[in-house]
């Protein structure tokens, strides 16, 4: 191979762990304590995830101290429990948690080890709940055995809906009250640009966010969610969107709260589609009891204006730069079309596309179609032993390359939200362009 890839991830399917998903669902819910029925080190995975997010947020200057962070305890299953069972250990652990933290409620989930052993954690939780008189919720997931990250997230959210939310019989809405909109999902917390961008899009319609479920909801917040008029799903990947939609559907079923379901607003095409869909949703919502007048073209123009204003400081430099796109193997669930649209929207010149040698043929064909749609003139080459990436170009790449003198922008795992996300990516590319001399740089796009 000519281009030294830092890491070749032979990722067919993610098979992530459900426990961090459970944690994330209630991490900042006041008074909650999370217990993993797991070996100690399983908490390390969650902690690494949190730590990475913490530094990412700091670097983006988006970090805000959460009002509350739930203690995370492991029952500390070890070899002995794998033979004799770990239910007693879990019960003792819950006794400790109640005595030490005086929680308002506890969320317990199982590791794959507990799953293999076959401990009846649900029964232990039931017993603890009766004994202590506080909710002890058992999320029926087992590490990576079932459900994955979002499996844990939605299972925990459904339990919270069951335990803390009630259907509200609301009086007839009057036109002077704004709709109460609840966001479903979590993307780097309320201070993140992604959430802010989502809020901005919703506010363009004259609406405000009422609650964000589940990550930052206290029990009191959850009890009020039944009063929401509708929910909006924060997506991510297609997979994440599908999972989050499950929460919204469940909320609809249990509380009668309908939800707005649309593709994630990615890029200009995606954002326009999202705005159109939201506009239609609002007009149809309860036959638009509040009689909203939606000037959708004005809203789109407003979004575009913000995009142009954001892009302006970087425009000249980037339009003079030579850009090379390096495409390696990616998870088939991840659609890179937004990248081409993003480069094209800025009227940037794409000098070359290099398809790396770890890309299967089907994905190569998909890449070619994608590139040709926006840049039919651009040369697309397959990586060979002689391939050398130019030092003077701005390299936009799906995976980190080990050459020390390249200027690389690593594409984010999740597409940036809305047009503000694209501006943020231009800013990163601008930072690459401002790198002088033969100094390599690796900038991550998230």
């Amino acid at each position: 191979m000519a281009v030294n890839k830092r890491r070749f991830i032979k990722d067919k399917v993610s098979y992530s762990c459900s426990m961090p998903g459970v944690w994330k669902a209630v991490a900042h819910s006041e008074g909650c304590v999370v217990v993993y029925h797991a070996p100690k080190a399983c908490a390390h995975i969650t902690e690494e995830m949190e730590r990475n997010q913490y530094f990412r947020m700091l670097a983006r200057r988006e970090y805000t101290n959460p009002p509350y962070t739930a203690p995370l305890i492991t029952s500390n299953i070890a070899k002995k429990e794998s033979i004799f069972g770990g239910s007693q250990l879990l019960k003792k652990c819950l006794d400790y948690v109640v005595a030490t933290y005086k929680p308002r409620y506890i969320v317990v989930t199982d590791s794959c080890v507990a799953g293999v052993i076959g401990d009846d954690s649900a029964a232990v939780c039931q017993e603890a709940e009766q004994e202590y008189g506080i909710p002890v919720l058992h999320v029926d997931c087992h590490g990576f055995l079932d459900g994955e990250y979002y499996g844990g997230f939605i299972s925990a959210a459904k339990l919270l809906i069951d335990r803390f939310m009630a259907k509200k019989e609301l009086p007839n809405v009057t036109s002077d009250q704004p709709y109460k909109v609840t966001l479903i999902g979590e993307k780097d917390g309320p201070g993140s640009m992604a959430i802010q961008q989502f809020c901005a899009l919703i506010e363009d319609f004259g609406l405000e966010i009422y609650k964000a479920f589940p990550g930052y909801c206290s029990i009191e917040d959850m009890q009020k969610i039944g009063e929401s008029d509708f929910t909006v799903i924060l997506g991510g990947t297609q997979k994440a969107y599908a999972y989050l939609r499950e929460i919204a559907d469940y909320m609809n079923e249990k509380l009668g709260i309908s939800h707005f379901a649309s593709d994630y607003p990615i890029g200009w095409e995606g954002t326009r589609r999202w705005l159109d869909d939201f506009s239609v949703f609002l007009q149809n919502f309860k036959s638009d009891a509040k009689n909203h007048k939606i000037e959708i073209e004005a809203i789109k123009a407003n979004v575009w204006r913000r995009f142009e204003e954001g892009f302006e400081p970087f425009k000249k430099t980037l339009q003079e730069a030579s850009i090379v796109l390096s495409l390696g193997y990616i998870n088939p669930n991840y659609d890179l079309s937004w990248v081409l649209e993003w480069i094209h929207l800025g009227n940037l010149s794409l000098a070359k596309v290099v398809i790396l040698d770890n890309v299967p043929e089907t994905q190569q064909a998909m890449y070619r179609t994608m590139v040709q749609r926006f840049y039919p003139e651009t040369t697309i080459v397959l990586e060979t032993a002689d391939t050398v990436l130019p030092k003077d170009a701005l390299i936009i790449t799906t995976q980190e390359l080990a050459e020390p003198f390249l200027r690389q922008l690593i594409l984010p795992c999740l597409p940036p939200i809305g047009m503000a996300g694209l501006v943020q990516m231009y800013r990163k590319l601008f930072m690459l362009a401002r790198r002088r001399g033969e100094r390599g740089i690796v900038l991550y796009g998230w």
Partner: protein
Amino acid sequence: MAGNSWFNHNECLQSCALAGAAAMAAGITDAYIVANGPTWCYFYAMKVTDRPGLNLGQRFLCTYPSNGAIVFGTEKELLQTLADLTKLPKAPGLVLVENSCAFSLIGDDLSSIVSESDLTCPILTMDSGGTLGDFWAGYRKALLDLLKLVDFQNVEKSADTKKNGKVHNEECGQENGNDRMTKSQYTVNLIGCSVTYYNEIDDLAELERLLKIVGIDVNLILAVNHNMADLKCLSQADLNVVIHPELSHEVAEWLLKKLAMPYIEPVLPYGLEGTLTWAHEIVTALMKQAHAAGSQADESDTLTKSDDRDEAQIEIRLKPLTDLIQSEKARQFERTKEIQRLCGEPWFDSVLVSAPSSVVRGMERALNDEWLDAGQFTYVVHDDSKSNPDYYSYVQGHDWQAALQTGENGLLLGSDQERRLCVPDKHIAYQTISNPEPAEIVLAERPFMGIRGHRHMQEIIWNLYIHSLENG
């Protein structure tokens, strides 16, 4: 001090044996590591072990088993991953295949599965993960199991001839015995080191330099930047010096029993006096050993005479180091006296040191004897070492949360996890000495051990103190 064994993981990280075993193999340059477990366990272990220059992005793989594999086993995924390794342009020297905890429980016969692969190199298999234990348990087991794979037989014969001054082992690239006698005479192995420990590579370079000054060559730094073939040379050394007992006390014992290699576990050389003591212990051990060999040859030599002679020889051998230390003391006095007149001597009301036990022990001695005056010292060790009953320990479930409740005007020498708990709300001066490290860049060589390490630590402590005066 004893307390419960549960704690809030937001306040404390505990890596598992999967990461520990990988950390051992990471130091062997032609070793490949295969994590047979969930993707996220693999990513986390990679994150814990990956360091610049190790190339783990290429050397640390995962079998990516599906969740169905917990029922049907991982044979297919594992053999596929091993088949990928056979296609490498250069064959691996070793492959470590480690089961995560879930796959350790389902009873896959790893050694039988890997025997079906076409790889010709040694394949070390082990059950690891959280049910086996912590990082240190994984490291120790992997290293011990690895050494059991090595054929020391032929090299042992060479070792026998070494005492007669005729050693010549081309495979190990050793000098012949006569050259060694005239140049440095003694060789030691440094064992119980990890490329993943904070600052380890810089510290080891300083230790090698110190040993060279007193005429001792380092034969091998076990599991640090050498290949598999080099392991055979392990038995060529006169003495094993254990650096971090929490990583390899058992290995030192095994080498004593298996290869009759003596070992010592001196407290790590932090501070100038600590450095001298460390070197003194090593030279003394080597001399005693030489004396014991000499006594066998000449039994008329009385023990008393030998002891006197040894002590004199030790002093002579240590003389260059003693001189350096004296001049370093004078240098430091000269360079600090002006600031001392202005700002006074460094002082903190409380000092918290948190690191692996070997580091804590060494730093405790240096802090008490040389580095710093303070109102109170508290020590928290990350592993389960029982080296000192006054230490708090994360692993033993001691009530270490109370230990972290430092007041104002404190100094924290620790890791990012203590930093996040102690520093944000208070004026606590902080220096990283252990993992996990915060987001920081260290480009210059900057040992904490030895003479150069003393210089750096003094500089750090002085500057933290001066800054604390302004910010406190």
